[in-house]
């Protein structure tokens, strides 16, 4: 009985949150087209998300590319097909690892910071102060962040793809002694435009998704500093799990 009550409550909360997040997203979208257009804040947010995330994204991409090359080589060695290694690494990165890992790292660095910042603005009544001064808080806080994220996350993903492939290439050529000429030729054969495009499309979706979830959780924070901490944890968990689930759905749609 208690278990089912708990399950029911969790389910209701999920429905409630999903509805709230959808509405929040559409409000942000709607206010995008009403002036004033906050170009300066938009640029500032792009810088914020980029500066916060680029280093972890690079490191993650580099080591993922390297370890993927290693593992793929191990699997392929049994059949002697190591020449396709470059292609497999590139596909894995552009289609899956690049967009997913980048988005999750952006959640961890910039997304959590966004929840904490907006959440503390909520509990110290700064959001109410915006309203009082006849400034729409969603328009002021969320519109610049949404578009900044939608642009910066794909850019970071492109960067992660390149760094990851370079890492894989390095491992393949210098550690596994695979011929670089064949490696690159095969990579070119195997990777098509749709592979790269699908990854970028995913990352655009992830960018919008993660910033909406993180913003929503901050915007609706309550219960003092502790509440902001709780909101931040929830935002990171929901965004990360959401990214992984929607990645699967998007992949089945694209291919």
């Amino acid at each position: 009985m208690n278990f089912f009550a708990l399950l029911g409550r969790a389910f209701l909360k999920f429905i409630y949150d999903s509805g709230g997040i959808f509405l929040f997203f559409f409000k942000t979208l709607f206010y995008t087209f009403s002036p004033p257009y906050r170009i300066k804040l938009f640029i500032k947010q792009m810088e914020f998300i980029g500066v916060k995330s680029w280093l972890v994204v690079s490191l993650t991409a580099l080591f993922s590319g390297m370890v993927t090359a290693y593992q793929v080589n191990h699997a392929l060695a049994k059949f002697g097909g190591q020449s396709v290694l470059g292609g497999v690494v590139a596909l894995t990165l552009t289609r899956e690892l690049g967009p997913v890992l980048t988005a999750i790292m952006v959640v961890a660095r910039a997304g959590s910071a966004i929840t904490a910042e907006i959440g503390s603005m909520r509990i110290t009544e700064q959001i109410d102060a915006l309203k009082i001064m006849a400034v729409n808080p969603i328009q002021y806080l969320m519109v610049p962040r949404l578009w900044a994220s939608v642009i910066v996350v794909p850019l970071l993903t492109g960067m992660a793809d390149i760094i990851g492939i370079a890492g894989g290439y390095g491992v393949a050529v210098f550690l596994l002694n695979i011929d670089p000429g064949i490696l690159l030729a095969r990579m070119e054969d195997m990777v098509e435009l749709i592979d790269i495009l699908s990854g970028i499309l995913k990352s655009i979706f992830f960018g919008a998704f993660l910033v909406t979830v993180c913003g929503y959780k901050g915007y609706n924070a309550s219960g003092g500093a502790e509440g902001v901490g709780r909101a931040t944890t929830e935002a990171v968990v929901i965004s990360s799990v959401g990214i992984l689930i929607s990645d699967y759905i998007l992949t089945t749609i694209f291919f």
Binding site: T124, E125, D128, A129, I132, A134, N136
Partner: protein
Amino acid sequence: MIEIKGLRKSFNGLEVLKGVNLTIPADKITFIMGQSGTGKSVLIKHIVGLIKPDSGEIWFEGKDLTKLSERELQKVRRKIGFLFQEGALFDSMTVGENVAFPLIEHFKLSKKEIAEKVRELLSAVELLEFKDKYPSELSGGMKKRAALARTLALQPQVVLFDEPTTGLDPILQITILDLIKGLKERYHLTCVIISHDVTLAFKFADYIAFLHQGIILKEGTPEEIKESSDPFVQKFIKSALI
């Protein structure tokens, strides 16, 4: 000026306001008094539409504010300023930027004009030398004064003060209220001040209303309040004299 009629509000089944009726006179200083947690903040937040009532009306300039859309409310909010208990300054901006914020948002002014206006407002609250400090570097009283300057930037007709003196030392309390009184004369403001300090109320109020258990228990001029026979009001007054 502002007429509140039958205002009711519950939170999660707990009825905080149980039919508040109150008329706030124009160009006067009205004190709203009552114990902590009785709903004084909730009451004045209704006036600026931060909280929607369950029922009741709030009339201002011929309009019922509780029926306005968010867009229409924005126009009203430029006329009614609100000073939050903790100031609610934007902590990502300096004091000067905080004061400039409403000016940038709502007036088409040049950079120079804005800078001038910020100087004028900050001198009015005696904070000019703290223009480039961040809110985290200010004391509680300074934050309140900075927030006051920001509120005045929109040239409101009415300013609602949520406990402007709570948590300040007695000298600072008087300073803040003198400041409010001076600004009221200078800018012709209608002021609503939340407080639980009876002494201050008798010194500064033109009109006093007691909020108790969800209704306005007693209202009137300080003289009328002093002569009230209501036991709660008497208890409240006596507590200040101990």
